[in-house]
Amino acid sequence: MLLSIRSLTKAFPGTRALDDVDFDVAAGEVHALLGENGAGKSTLIKCLTGAYQRDAGTIALDGARIDPRSTSQAQELGIGTVYQEVNLLPNLTVAQNLMFGREPRRFGLVDSRRTRVVAQAMLQQYGLDINVDRDLGTYSVAIQQIVAIARAVSLSGKVLILDEPTASLDRREVEMVFDVVRDLRDRGLGIVFVSHFLDQVFELTDRVTILRNGRKIVTETTSNLNRMSLIEHMLGRALEDAVSETHDHGKAAAPRMLQFDGIGRAGVIDPFDMTVGQGEVVGLAGLLGSGRTETAEMLFGLRQSQGGQARDVDGPLDLRNPRAAIGAGFGFAPEDRKTDGIVADLSVRQNIILGLQARRGWARPVPRAEQNRLADDYIRKLDIRTSDREKPIGELSGGNQQKAVLARWLAMNPRFLILDEPTRGIDVGAHAEILRLIEDLTAQGMSVLVISSEIDELVAVADRVIVLRDRRHVAELTGAEVTGDRIMRAIADEAAA
């Protein structure tokens, strides 16, 4: 084995990001590393590249134990990495980027002519014949990606880690990058390929390792797997699992409240139609990167739709930007609570009052007594566990932060609430409370859109589930069709509803 990882363990406060994980890469193979958000992929890669220090376990390269302490040290040992966001400098020329830090010199000065010649020759190995004197930023992302690969290989040359290298490429460009990767494999490099595009995994890789919740689930030859088994491993849920139906799916006849026609944006999400009934919970299911969050962002005006229209019973709605969407009675609790949801240094009261105050404008402050009343009210109603309302919200647990974010929207009395992964990073108790809260809200006539990676959660809470794949809405399941099996099959594109 070229690279051999044994019993790798890494813990962070509150979570075990990697738990006793084994992982091998042979010379001349492309090995896919798969898993949903929080499965431990990035932690594993960061331990390999020296960005994190592991707590336990061994890493061996060519049979010798290694202990990289920094990215540059990992590079010198032979482990190079290429990230989704190209980690090169667009303001330098291609040649400068390739040769950075080891430019040939003459009389102590950089010999730009020789730099150019060497860079040109290096790229020709990859079948790339471009003007290396132009700024890297003027080339397409695919070419930048290949330049990044060329640099990583020339610096390291044993193991190449590709972290979502194709996420922003189109089909033809992906093919370009794949040709390069295959060529490197044939030259004997060990390649770790991280991607959430399953087609690409089947197309390119020799073996697959799947992680879930910090544990290794399986390592298997790619050709022995099919889409279904792959997804089962990733989501940790076998098809034969019978899920008890706890939710009454009898609300399909809810009066239609919102209608979206042809909302979409090139390169983000294909145009889709969608309706939301009053008091209805609509779920969005799909793998990471399938376009769930993008759908929510389009509806809330965070991204502009190219064409299409939104309307309610009274006529067209203006969803140009979040402010307009809020005006239309929408609310959005984003996925990344820490950076997009809360203001960590402000108190629970201030966080709850934030949305309401923003809508009233700075000239009409919410009276302090009213603020206190609202905050206390929601702290009690949602059972936000905090010593008092003036405590900085950053000191609360994730579940209680999420409840405060919900309280902020509820204070504005929206009619349509979008919740992106509302239970991510929340303990089991709070998890159930949030789900119950969603049901309470819909019983009062509010409509909710829930995005979740946990299929059981969608089954439990949603009246209707829309399934996304590869940035497209591919299926819609209603009423009795909302079962774990049907959702899984739709995600895997087998016998869609």
Binding site: F100, G101, E103, R105, R134, D135, T138
Partner: protein, 324 residues
Amino acid sequence: MNTRALPLYATIAIFLLAYLLAWTQFPNILSTRVLGNLLTDNAYLGIVAVGMTLVILSGGIDLSVGSVIAFSGVFIAVVLRDTGLHPLVVFALLLLLTTAFGAGMGFLIDRLAMPAFIVTLAGMFLARGAAYMLSIQSVPIQHPFFQTLQGAYYLMPGKGRLTLIGVLMLLVVALGMVIAHRTRFGASVYALGGGEQTARLMGVRQGRTTVLVYAFSGAMAGLSGIVFSVYTGSGYSLATVGTELTAIAAVVIGGTLLSGGAGYVLGTLVGVLTMGLIQTYIVFDGSLSSWWTKIVIGLLLLVFILLQKGLLKLSGSRLARGAA
């Protein structure tokens, strides 16, 4: 051709166009005399602007240079008045001092992860205060060596004087070009300006580069102070107030991106000369208030900021097309 170089070409075009316009009105403006004076009068600004160019390319800013120039003048004048040291020795001492001063600011910026704006603002007050401490009055410099320096020039055809300080400025520009474009340090400066995180991943030694950049700027400010003392023949603690901003303006007019990572040292020279040309035009005209200089410079700055924004948009949309 790189879109990156477009602002440089635009600067050169604007300079030539302005010169042409001025020439149609005052044919005398195209003479070696005017050219020589342009270099001499702006020598101190050009030198300090080269240092500023590197700082801005690295993504930083140095607000202390105007004060450092004033301090340098007073330092030279007072030391020459009170001791028997030879001016060359005083120059060496001063350069050591200002380089260390710059390096210290760079160290603080890097170590404390403080914004360069605040650290060099503190440096600005510090250097100005130190100049006051040495002398509040303007101190004349009477050393014979200074007369030698002031009298050193090459008489160009057409009776224009190519002075020592003018030549020094051109040499500094050449030095700046070599450092920026032909050394690994220069590449690191561009890399830092392009993105600190990425630069670190590519192996740039961020601390070392930051310290060196501000040390270089400090050295250039000291050298500029020497040139200014030769030019005025005195040291005055109230001199060159706001020169740091004029230098920044010259750098931006010269086509360097204020956010760092893109630009050319040569552009800065053209920027300085453009500003000097406007001044010269106003002198030739005689009836215009000298405040027009400021107004025209303000407009030019605006034009260049818009130009750069436009170019960024252009290259951005090309990228998007490439990726689509």
